[in-house]
Amino acid sequence: MSQKPASPITPEEARQALELIESTSRQMRRLAAYGGMPYFLIVWGIVWVVGFSANYFVSNPSTRGTIWMVLDILGLLGTAYVVWYIHKRGVHWPMGPTLGWFWFAWMVYGALFVHFAQARGTQLSMLISLWVMFGYVVSGLFYRSRVLITLGLTVTVFIVVGYVALPAYFDLWMAVLGGGSLAVAGVYMLTAWR
């Protein structure tokens, strides 16, 4: 018979304590909207699914540009709403503003690179997607989230494989595997953490 771990409580009391911890953690994660992360992933996953689908199915470049502009604005509004919602619930994250400024600088530099690289079409989509995924990996380091880092690296592999192996279907590939991965990861987090 193995030795009983040193403890002044009974196994039944340990079970009850673990249940209490689990229910409190669940309650807290809901209150803090899971740090916002799954909602950010769902919002931007949908943006990518719709945006890349438009790249593939809509032939007019001007219409595609307008669709992306509207989607980006909706994505930013959705992100701002999640941040506001978490703050309103009494959860303060000192690193939040730093991460916000990081993404702002990221977008400005991304826009400059894209402008001066003079990339067009599929190459442009690939460069922006890689740039965003690099941002996900860095954000994962901020959040200390293995999920976010793994997701960023996985989608990076999808981007490179799609661009090299299936350039003609790259946008469709990105809608399904890029945007789909983000949205599914967000939904999975919500389900698994509930």
């Binding site: 018979m1 193995s2 009983k4 771990p5 040193a6 403890s7 002044p8 409580i9 196994p11 340990a14 079970r15 304590a17 673990l18 209490l20 911890i21 409190t24 953690s25 669940r26 309650q27 807290m28 994660r29 209150l31 803090a32 740090g35 992360m37 619930r89 009494g90 959860v91 303060h92 994250w93 000192p94 690193m95 959040y143 200390r144």
Partner: protein
């Protein structure tokens, strides 16, 4: 082997630690929100927080938002480690009961 922590195990303190542990790293929780969640009085919560703060498990920060005073609570590194060790000790006891006791 992970050690049982009597200070953390008290039910209100256990819930305080579990709630703070579930926050994203570096995040802080407002006192009023924690009180509502745990359904305890101001005095009761303050007394438990003091014990956890004295042990170095949490950090209490008082600040002002406009003219209103706000108190934020966060888990320290030591608190995170102590809580995780306590949970591990509880799981070890349960594992012993469910299988190890016979082996």
């Amino acid at each position: 082997m992970a050690e049982f922590n009597a200070l953390i195990h008290q039910p209100v303190r256990l819930r305080i630690m579990a709630a703070l542990h579930a926050l994203p790293p570096e995040a802080r929780l407002e006192f009023g929100r924690l009180r509502e969640m745990l359904e305890v009085t101001d005095g009761n919560l303050a007394s438990h927080l003091r014990k956890l703060e004295d042990a170095g498990y949490i950090q209490v920060e008082k600040t002002f938002v406009g003219r209103r005073p706000r108190t934020y609570i966060a888990l320290t590194q030591a608190g995170r480690r102590a809580f995780e060790e306590h949970v591990e000790a509880l799981r070890a006891l349960l594992a012993w009961d469910e299988g190890g006791a016979a082996g």
